[in-house]
């Protein structure tokens, strides 16, 4: 079993009739993903790349039994699309759209409270369970079914690490891009919990970077949960140019949580193995797994 996805994942696509939706849904179908419907308000009743199009998510869900949605709707309407999927009780929503206003993402997070949906993104490359289902826009070809779970804030580094893990003779159970925006759905910690509970996942790679607090949150969780599975972390941005500070607000709120070395140190103290450089992640997880065996 992978996390989040399985062979019964039935996908509808919000914004399928646009350029990005059309292109990537075609690629997902080619990968073997069961895409069952598209949703574009005003285009209900049509057929697009061989799939029925509905006006509303609830309608599409009732007609096709979809249990996941991928959102390509442009920024102006992306939050409304996510909220519509949450209200239609779609269990898994992946939002690919970039540049969604941050207040809109807060509205989406408010809608998620108490709802039964999980949201990945926005600004996410999606979720990939090699050989089972691709719910996203990531490149494929170098992934293999296997035991390494990958959770990341960066699409490009995920592609890189997937290739390294395969090169090291391993495969991936699932890769998840939590999204590059400051306010998003599932956190790295949420994903780690799922990986630790998943029998097929033998080890986890966490790809973090400067800024935000999510890696610290993972470190706090690991210190408490003491996972039996090896966790390897790569934190990039140690040598990033410091942003010119803007007023004093940052100093009042973040209190040194955004620093790359501080994050790596916290994760190491909590039991994670730190990959010394981005090109060493595959090797590091392979060593960690062979030692754990």
């Amino acid at each position: 079993m992978a996390i989040l996805l399985d062979r019964d994942t039935r996908v509808l696509c919000q914004g399928m009739t646009g350029w990005a939706g059309t292109h990537h849904v075609a690629q997902m179908i080619e990968y073997g993903t069961q895409v069952v419907a598209g949703v574009t308000p005003g285009k209900g009743g049509r057929t697009h790349i061989g799939l029925p199009v509905y006006d509303r998510v609830a309608e599409a869900k009732a007609a096709t039994g979809a249990n996941a949605s991928i959102v390509f709707v442009p920024p102006a309407n992306a939050a409304a699309a996510m909220i519509e999927a949450i209200e239609a009780e779609i269990p898994l929503i992946v939002a690919v759209t970039e540049r969604v206003p941050v207040l809109d993402m807060i509205r989406v997070r408010d809608a998620l409270k108490g709802a039964g949906s999980r949201l990945v993104g926005a600004n996410s490359q999606g979720v990939l369970a090699p050989g089972i289902c691709k719910l996203g826009v990531m490149a494929t070809g170098s992934e293999r079914p296997g035991g390494v779970g990958i959770v990341s804030r960066s699409a490009s580094l995920t592609s890189e690490v997937v290739a390294q893990v395969t090169e090291a003779g391993l495969g991936q159970s699932t890769t998840v891009g939590v999204g590059g925006d400051p306010v998003h759905g599932m956190s790295m910690r949420d994903c780690l919990e799922l990986f630790l509970a998943d029998d097929e996942t033998k080890g986890v790679v966490l790809i973090g970077e400067i800024g935000g607090f999510e890696e610290q949150e993972v470190a706090d969780y690991m210190a408490e949960a003491k996972p039996a599975k090896p966790v390897v972390a790569l934190i990039v941005g140690t040598h990033a140019p410091r942003e010119r500070r803007m007023g004093h607000a940052g100093a009042l709120t973040s209190a040194a949580t955004g620093d790359a070395s501080a994050k790596a140190a916290a994760l190491e103290r909590a039991g994670a193995r730190i990959a010394g450089s981005a090109h060493l992640v595959g090797r590091t997880i392979a060593e960690a797994l062979s030692r754990a065996r």
Binding site: A155, S156, A163, M246, L252, S277, H279
Partner: protein
Amino acid sequence: MRLHEFQAKRLLADYGLPTPRGAVAFTPDEAEAIARDLAVSPVAVKAQVLAGDRLQAGGVRMAHGPATVRSAAAAMLGQRLATAQTEDDGLIVRRVYVEEGVAIARQLYLTLLIDLRTAGLVVLGSPEGGEGIEERERKGELRCERLSLPIARPADRSELSGFLARLGLEGPTNEAGCDLVEGLRRAFVELDASLIEINPLAVTASGELKAIDVKMTLDDNALFRHPELASLRDEAEAERLKLSAHRNQLNFVQLDGDIGLVSNGAGLGLATLDMVHRAGGRPANFMDIRTTARSLDIAHGFALLLDNPKIRTLLINVHGGGMQSCDTIAEGLGIALRKSGRKLPIVVRLAGLNADLGRYRLANFGCHVIEAPDMGAAAERAVAVAAGRA
């Protein structure tokens, strides 16, 4: 997008923020005329540049009488002002804000921003506003109060009142403070702000509140909802390179080394930067090609690097995938090299989607590149080339 003080004050006045009377001057004559109209003493003359810490840098002067206002304005206008928050050579002062002086009894600090942990709007306040607040925070000497604010409805009046009481505001001043914070909350949501900071918020001897300085940034991603605000962008002040990059779907930060870096995706870009540092090299920039960039955008990006005389080599680290493939980036490089005519050693590491097609494209453009099998090797090779060792 960051706003000037005068722009922020003007916008927030519509939401009931009390500010001292004032106006913008482009010339010493205008400054003097504004001072005459204000008919008070003293008057503050404040350089309008997009950077804080202006007071210590001489960018805010108190002047008594129109003639002194005139000479204070004349001393600032057209000059460069360097503060702790600007580059070393500072920013050109194109306008000053001329504002009535306020007799301050107490100074508070107040800011509204998004709290990433709770994914919600929050107001932070300190009873000790003014200069040096960051220094006191670092030393752990600063008292800071916080209150979550709703975005879909007005804030709870009694919560607001309690928050302001913790900052030491009582009676009518507390009432006025509640209106002020609620106004800022509404402005934050309606204008899609990402930060509103008032420092100091003055309490006058008569218990009135006045926002002495305001910093405000708007969410760039929401400007499509506010075309009238988008026009407030001060393009003259934006760094030329950043502006060009922004228009061409790139993220760009200039650094002072000699190795030009190009990657697709911020994560891979940061990883490349780290690897070059570890190998002992000095990056000339950080550049991340967004997924929406076309080959001509990318060519503009490479041109920014090729125009930099300090650069001795380029390091291109691309993992094609999703919406950005290696051949598009190779095409951008080819176009830029042909246009510039500059001969530079170029270290290239292409992997993922269309890597072979990318190599073929580079060969067809007649680009001579040094290929590296993986990221680590590519970084080491680029550092060796820049140092004249390869």
